[in-house]
């Protein structure tokens, strides 16, 4: 363990922004939920009605967990936030741990560090420590934030420490994934898959097979029963599981060769069939397109399956009715409109990462050997652009199929399902605008490319918080997603669609021109 302290300090310094934003984000989620529940349900009567409608509804149980004490503000807060918070902290753990372990190893930097007088486990321990620090700090601050709204302090700490515990388990799980997979990408996939599996196991378990929930750390979190008869012993299960998984990871680290995973890398073809820039771009990005499409299909399916019940649940809640049903549209359609825009914002994450890919190719030195062949710069970039555009359509299409499919599964109304599913496609130009911002930055100021994530984050803020924080119209309108009609609740407006498409095309062309003018790499 020699050198661990120094490496932890270096890792915290290197990741100070990442650490800060994840912490702020997680705490904000808990705080906003605690603040918004009393605003949504303004009377005990409203809470009672909501509880009666939600109680035991399988779709809601699957999404958020067992329905307990939903006629109290604390019960509502815990129920709404805990599964979502656990997934978020899991994603954080995945990013931080893999970044400091497998990704460092793949980049070859880890080799330098290890050659210095540091213990075999020290580099891994430093990544794990950063993730644990974020989990615990976010957990404690979330507890304080929830308690600050006037809710019971002990239960608030149950809610916060449960979050920290989930973070610890997912940290350990990501550490194991980093040992098993042979590549950083593979480790991200495995660790992310584990978070998804934990959520899914708990969903199925909570609905009808309680045993399965006991296999999931999110299930243990729910078992703390924060704000519904708090008990502390499930926290012990979480701590033991995290510690045990960490030990397993350390043991695996000793059983594999440096630079390899437990699974050997398979052989490839001796001859290639890749033809040109487009073929290569497809090959490089197809895994990511498939992954995002699969994820958004499942997300759409989940939203699609529950939407028809939405009227029962919040039908009498005046605030929500006002929020969703501007202009007297049906609540169900309003729900699907919101679901569609949420899925589209998530899809924008794919689009930006796809538009970032050419710059990663430059940074990695791959562009250097490509661009000294007869492949012109513009064709190279165009290949990636085509993949981004086609990928966006595929990913949004998958979300739409999921949304419509989920609806059909629960209602057997194919006609309306088609309308609901198709509503996601309206957002193609908005997603492409966000991707085109990234392409523009890539062309003219590639060092600023991380800024391209801001529009995605901002669009998310508008979708989730604009009503709550009472954003004025112009502030909402900065998000391209807000410019479009909330289909299927509102009729599709074509003018903004066309205008957004024009903006996307103009930014793309400008980005292409910028690439033609600057140095490569």
């Amino acid at each position: 363990m020699t050198g661990t302290v120094r490496l932890v300090r270096a890792a915290l310094r290197r990741d100070r922004w990442l650490v800060l934003w994840w912490t702020v984000g997680l705490v904000a989620l808990y705080w906003v939920t605690a603040v918004s529940i009393p605003q949504t349900y303004t009377s005990q009567h409203a809470l009672d009605q909501a509880a009666a409608a939600l109680d035991g509804n399988p779709a809601y149980v699957a999404m958020a967990g067992p329905t307990r004490a939903l006629d109290t503000v604390g019960g509502q807060v815990a129920w709404q936030v805990q599964a979502f918070g656990a997934v978020l902290v899991g994603v954080m753990a995945m990013f931080v741990v893999v970044r400091h372990t497998r990704a460092e190893e793949e980049a070859g930097r880890d080799e330098l560090v290890r050659a210095a007088p540091v213990g075999r486990l020290a580099p891994a321990v430093s990544g794990v420590t950063v993730s644990l620090v974020v989990s615990v700090v976010a957990g404690v601050l979330s507890a304080l934030a929830v308690a600050s709204t006037g809710l019971d302090p002990a239960d608030s700490f149950g809610l916060g420490l449960g979050l920290a515990g989930c973070g610890a388990v997912f940290t350990a799980g990501s550490y194991v994934a980093a040992q098993v997979a042979g590549t950083a990408r593979g480790a991200y996939g495995l660790a992310g898959g584990a978070v998804g599996a934990a959520y899914a196991l708990r969903a199925v378990g909570d609905v009808g097979a309680p045993v399965l929930s006991w296999l999931s750390p999110i299930g243990w979190y729910e078992q703390l029963h924060a704000f519904s008869g708090l008990r502390w012993w499930p926290l012990a299960v979480i701590v033991v599981a995290a510690a045990g998984t960490l030990v397993l990871g350390g043991w695996l680290l000793g059983r594999r060769d440096y630079g390899d995973g437990l699974r050997p890398v398979s052989a490839g073809p001796a001859d290639g069939r890749l033809r040109g820039g487009l073929g290569l771009a497809v090959r490089l990005q197809r895994g990511s397109v498939i992954g995002w499409a699969g994820g958004l299909f499942l997300g759409g399916l989940a939203y699609g399956a529950i939407g028809n019940d939405v009227g029962d649940v919040i039908g009498d809640s005046q605030a929500v009715t006002d929020m969703l049903a501007q202009g007297g549209v049906s609540l169900v359609d309003g729900f699907y409109g919101t679901a569609a825009v949420m899925l589209a914002v998530i899809a924008a994450g794919f689009a930006v990462s796809s538009a970032n890919r050419p710059w990663h190719e430059e940074e990695a030195g791959h562009a250097e050997i490509l661009l000294v062949t007869r492949l012109p710069r513009r064709s190279w970039l165009l290949g990636h652009t085509v993949v981004t555009v086609a990928g966006t359509i595929i990913v949004l299409g998958a979300a739409g199929v999921g949304l419509g499919g989920g609806y059909v599964l629960t209602t057997r109304e194919a006609g309306h399902a088609l309308r609901i599913g198709a509503s996601v496609l309206e957002y193609i130009p908005a997603v492409l605008v966000v991707a085109a911002v990234a392409r523009f930055l890539h062309g003219w100021a590639p060092r600023w490319l991380p800024v391209a994530w801001l529009p995605v984050v901002y669009a998310g803020v508008v979708v989730f918080f604009a009503d709550l924080l009472r954003f004025p119209g112009w502030l909402r309108g900065l998000s391209p997603f807000d410019r479009l009609a909330l289909a299927p609740a509102e009729p599709v407006r074509w003018l903004p669609i066309v205008l957004l498409a024009v903006v996307a095309a103009a930014l793309s062309v400008a980005g292409q021109a910028g690439l033609g003018r600057r140095d490569i790499g």
Binding site: L274, R275, R283, A364, G365, L371
Partner: protein, 305 residues
Amino acid sequence: MSTVTTAAVIDIQQLVKTFGRFRALDGLDLQVAAGEVHGFLGPNGAGKSTTIRVLLGLLRGDAGTARILGLDPWRDGVEVHRRLAYVPGDVSLWPNLSGGEIIDLLGRLRGGLDRQRRAALVEEFELDPTKRARTYSKGNRQKVALVSALAAEVDLLVLDEPTSGLDPLMEAVFQRHVRAFRERGGTVLLSSHILAEVEELCDRVSIIRAGRTVESGTLSELRHLTRTSVSAELDRPVPELADIPGVHDLVVTGSRVSLSVDTAALDPVMRCLGEAGIRTLASRPPTLEELFLRHYGDELGAETR
């Protein structure tokens, strides 16, 4: 005789390239004639890779001119790229593609490669083309880039320290194929730190330092500028040796003398030694290494400023 009589394949005049405040190239000149293998030497950070990247149209020069194959690399990049193949110093490949896939992808992008030569190169370099690039060592990544470049049908090879990761056996394979390429009429720009390789392969050499060309010519021309070491055992002492202009580092121990001599003064020195009665004589022409050190030795201190 060192003037370029045949068409210049590469012609760089007074090239300047700055990165922010750092002047990477500071009025660099470089001429490479058709059909020659041209060695491109310089210490780390002298600007070799920057020069090559400007020549390939990846970077844009700030002042001066660079012509390659008669074209402007920045404006006519693709036209230039049709006729050359490039092996970078630090070969970075797509981790999940196999070596064979990458060789063929780059080959197609260069307009096709000679399948027979590809097969021969893979065999001779002992490269396993089915392995994923992430599992290759540095040397094997270089082999992938070399196979695809040497199997391509091009007029010019631009090689930036192409053999730094290869073992001596593979180095020999490399040299054989570069010679074969020249015999087919090709031109080569070879940046290298392996001076033995440069001596073995290159017709002409340019040495650069701090972004400027300090020496350019054939190896024999460059040798002319430097000194031959001579040591001999003589019948009787020759005090007059010290008076010959061009004699340096003279050491006399009894009947043994050792000295280094400017090429121009070789004749009077030899005559002088002959008259003293030579019992044994050893003389050694300057190595490229000595040439190199003469140019850089004086700046070992200055470079660290």
